[in-house]
């Protein structure tokens, strides 16, 4: 009897947790277990994983509002990233060194995120049902458009523009001297020689996550969830569906902008031009790995998903390399992340909405 109970509860657990997630979780666990045996330092690995988690978590969080309002997966994340890049470059142009520049970057990015997000939201309201494909291409074309702009905009800070011509921004700009590692180093804890926890960055994510969580429990937040789960019912109960959807898109775009700023401060470089092109895919697959679906997502999904995804991305190259002396991690990353998106797109139960 006990066995039966056990198996049925195990089945329930598998069902609630999702089979792909369990496989990926076990895979990551096995990587962590094998790591010490093949000579990979577990401290460094953990430290890298935490670091990457912090770098990417906000961009994954940017998926949540749009999924909640039923706009689907935000393949248009590059638009938010562009708002962030504009904030970053303007902040560097103003040329105030130190941590202030990070706040300035957020400040400058916000109006762009709101304006771009508003337009993007208006567009998505006109194409209900086909959001995801259009979002993908809105992201791509905006990145390509900004490539032209980076060449033409009148930036002049010598750390940013090409040295020989004096115009046109570089492809990568160092944030050294400005906001490099402002969050990473804030209250960071050095446990051992190899294991450092970037407390500030994790706290920053926690703060944003709490704000989003709290927002989703306000009146507007619940309205957003209602729109996402049944837009006809929501309309009937007097909610302005289009307005709520636009708000969610603006929030997603803004979070994308903040996300790239957090990424840059840890990475140390601002990547312009084609840099943001494929940044949506890892974020999308991360939240799906965390248990979200095309129209359902929570903060917990973000945390679990980012940790699993970034864990695999960090661990596979080092473990694989020392095990079989070939780096197959790139292939594994492509197959896992896109496989996860495919899995989510093809689930029958989720299609009906």
């Amino acid at each position: 009897m006990n066995l039966q109970q056990l198996t049925s509860s195990a089945k329930g657990l598998v069902k609630s947790f999702g089979l792909p997630r369990i496989i990926i979780g076990l895979f990551l666990l096995s990587l962590f277990i094998t790591a010490p045996f093949v000579g990979v330092n577990i401290g460094t690995s953990l430290s890298d994983t935490f670091n990457r988690f912090g770098m990417n978590a906000v961009m994954v969080l940017a998926m949540v509002p749009m999924i909640h309002s039923g706009c689907g997966l935000n393949f248009g994340l590059p638009l938010g990233i562009i708002a962030g890049l504009l904030g970053a470059t303007i902040s560097l142009q103003v040329n105030i060194p130190g941590p202030t520049s990070f706040l300035l970057a957020i400040l400058f990015a916000t109006p762009f995120a709101v304006i771009l997000g508003w337009g993007y939201g208006q567009l998505l309201n006109r194409v209900k049902g086909g959001e995801m494909m259009i979002a993908t291409y809105v992201g791509f074309s905006s990145v390509a458009f900004m490539c032209i702009m980076w060449l033409l905009l009148p930036f002049s800070n010598p750390t940013m523009v090409w040295g020989y011509s004096g115009t046109g921004l570089r492809t990568t700009i160092s944030t050294e001297g400005y906001y490099r590692h402002v969050l990473n180093d804030f209250l960071s804890i050095q446990l051992t020689d190899h294991l450092t926890i970037p407390t500030g960055m994790l706290l920053f994510f926690a703060l944003l996550a709490c704000i989003i969580w709290a927002f989703l429990h306000t009146k507007t937040g619940t309205a957003m969830t209602a729109v996402g789960s049944n837009s006809v019912f929501a309309r009937a109960s007097g909610i302005n569906v289009d307005k709520i959807r636009t708000l969610s898109v603006i929030m997603s775009t803004w979070l994308g902008a903040i996300g790239i700023l957090v990424y840059q401060q840890s990475f140390g470089f601002i990547q312009l031009y084609m840099g943001p092109f494929y940044m949506a895919l890892p974020a999308v697959s991360a939240i799906l790995i965390g248990g979200a679906s095309v129209n359902k997502a929570s903060i917990l999904n973000v945390v679990i998903g980012t940790f699993l995804f970034q864990g695999i991305v960090t661990m596979t190259p080092s473990v694989m390399n020392s095990m079989i002396h070939t780096d197959m991690s790139e292939v594994i990353r492509i197959v896992v992340s896109n496989g996860m998106i495919l899995y989510a797109l093809t689930r029958k139960a989720e299609v009906t909405r």
């Binding site: 086909g130 390509a144 060449l151 492509i334 093809t346």
Partner: protein, 371 residues
């Protein structure tokens, strides 16, 4: 007076329906003098691009007929074609026999991949395009696994010119010297100094005739019915799922052949890149030709190739002469390629919604009339 009004309206409607081609005509009209290229150069470039790309673009037509939208999964066919080319290069089969053999090898791979892709798209009904797009990425991972790790290790490949020095995996670029321009040079004539590869154009014509014939067959009619209304088609006894899978299989197989023709013209294969770019550019070219997600024909293909590639050829030079930076032109054409796809997708969704709205109004009016 009223007649005049309707004429203007008609004109406006035609303009509205052909917005993208008209926009491109304008871009090209401004760009050609800016670029400073001679008419002869442009004409010969266009002929090359037509013979190189149209087969690939034609392969997109059948899924559109079946109502599955733009088949971004055509990259799967391109991968199959590339595998065929890698194998014949290793075996040293050259010339026309090499091309045909590569096609024969690619066929079963394309059929298998297309069948799998169709199965998945049936599971993701209503969002075929984004799914086929992700399938392209997913299969790219598998393709890398096969080509970068499998070839030379599991799949026998012996040629040192193909293999990486480590002994397995294919190099970044594969020189297709053996089949380079084999079909193009088979029947090359010069018209006003413009080289015209008649044999390739003949193959493309045959394909176009096949498409026209196919639309009239039972299967083609079934596809049209499925594309218009799946439920009605099912009620009429058409095997909807099966028909949809077949349409993707045909598209994938043709994409594989198209890729082989494309690469025999170029002469070098970028093992890990060629297939990824081809999907995007083919889709963009088809849309530039005035096609939409739900309606496309052969006229769109050729108009699209000419306009899109004209823009592609002139924009770096035009950018250089206008601003002094060729790079600007390169970014501009990337932007235009993606922009065109975005605009077409948006227009399609907006029109679909408007039509649905109209049908709803009609239904309500009918109901009212009944009461």
């Amino acid at each position: 007076m009223t007649l005049h009004m309707t004429k203007t309206q008609k004109l406006l409607r035609i303009m509205g329906n052909n917005m993208v081609p008209i926009l491109f005509l304008v871009i090209c009209a401004f760009g050609i003098p800016l670029s400073g290229y001679s008419a002869n150069f442009l004409a010969s470039e266009i002929v090359i691009r037509i013979s190189r790309n149209s087969f690939l673009i034609v392969s997109l037509l059948i899924p559109i007929l079946a109502g599955m939208g733009l088949n971004f999964g055509m990259t799967l066919g391109a991968m199959a074609g590339q595998i065929g080319l890698i194998l014949i290069s290793d075996w040293g089969i050259v010339g026309i026999p090499g091309i045909i053999l590569a096609m024969i090898i690619s066929t079963p791979i394309s059929v298998l991949l297309g069948w799998w892709c169709g199965k998945i798209l049936n599971m993701a009904r209503g969002r075929e395009m984004v799914t086929s797009y992700i399938i392209g990425f997913f299969m790219n991972g598998i393709y890398q696994l096969v080509v970068l790790y499998g070839m030379g290790a599991v799949i026998p490949v012996r040629s040192n010119a193909l293999l990486l020095p480590r002994g397995y995996g294919i190099r970044n670029t594969v020189n297709l010297i053996g089949i380079r321009r084999a079909l193009d040079d088979l029947l090359l004539i010069r018209l006003f100094g413009i080289p015209i590869p008649l044999a390739t154009l003949l193959v493309i014509t045959v394909l176009c005739l096949f498409i026209l014939w196919f639309k009239k067959t039972k299967l083609g009619q079934d596809m049209r019915a499925v594309g218009q209304d799946m439920e009605v088609a099912r009620a009429a006894g058409i095997k909807v799922e099966h028909t949809r899978i077949i349409s993707i299989v045909i598209s994938t197989v043709f994409a594989g052949y198209g890729m082989i023709l494309y690469l025999q013209n170029i002469g070098t294969l970028n093992t890990y890149n060629s297939h990824m770019q081809i999907g995007m550019f083919s889709v963009a070219a088809l849309l530039v030709g005035g096609a939409s997600v739900s309606k496309a024909n052969i006229r769109n293909v050729f108009l699209g190739v000419i306009l899109f590639h004209l823009m592609f050829i002139i924009s770096p030079m035009a950018g250089k002469n206008l601003i002094g930076q060729a790079q600007l032109g390169e970014y501009f054409r990337v932007f235009v390629s993606y922009g065109v796809i975005t605009i077409s997708l948006v227009l399609y969704e907006v029109r679909k919604k408007r039509d649905q709205h109209y049908v709803g109004l009609q239904l309500a009016a009918d109901q009212e009339a009944l009461q």
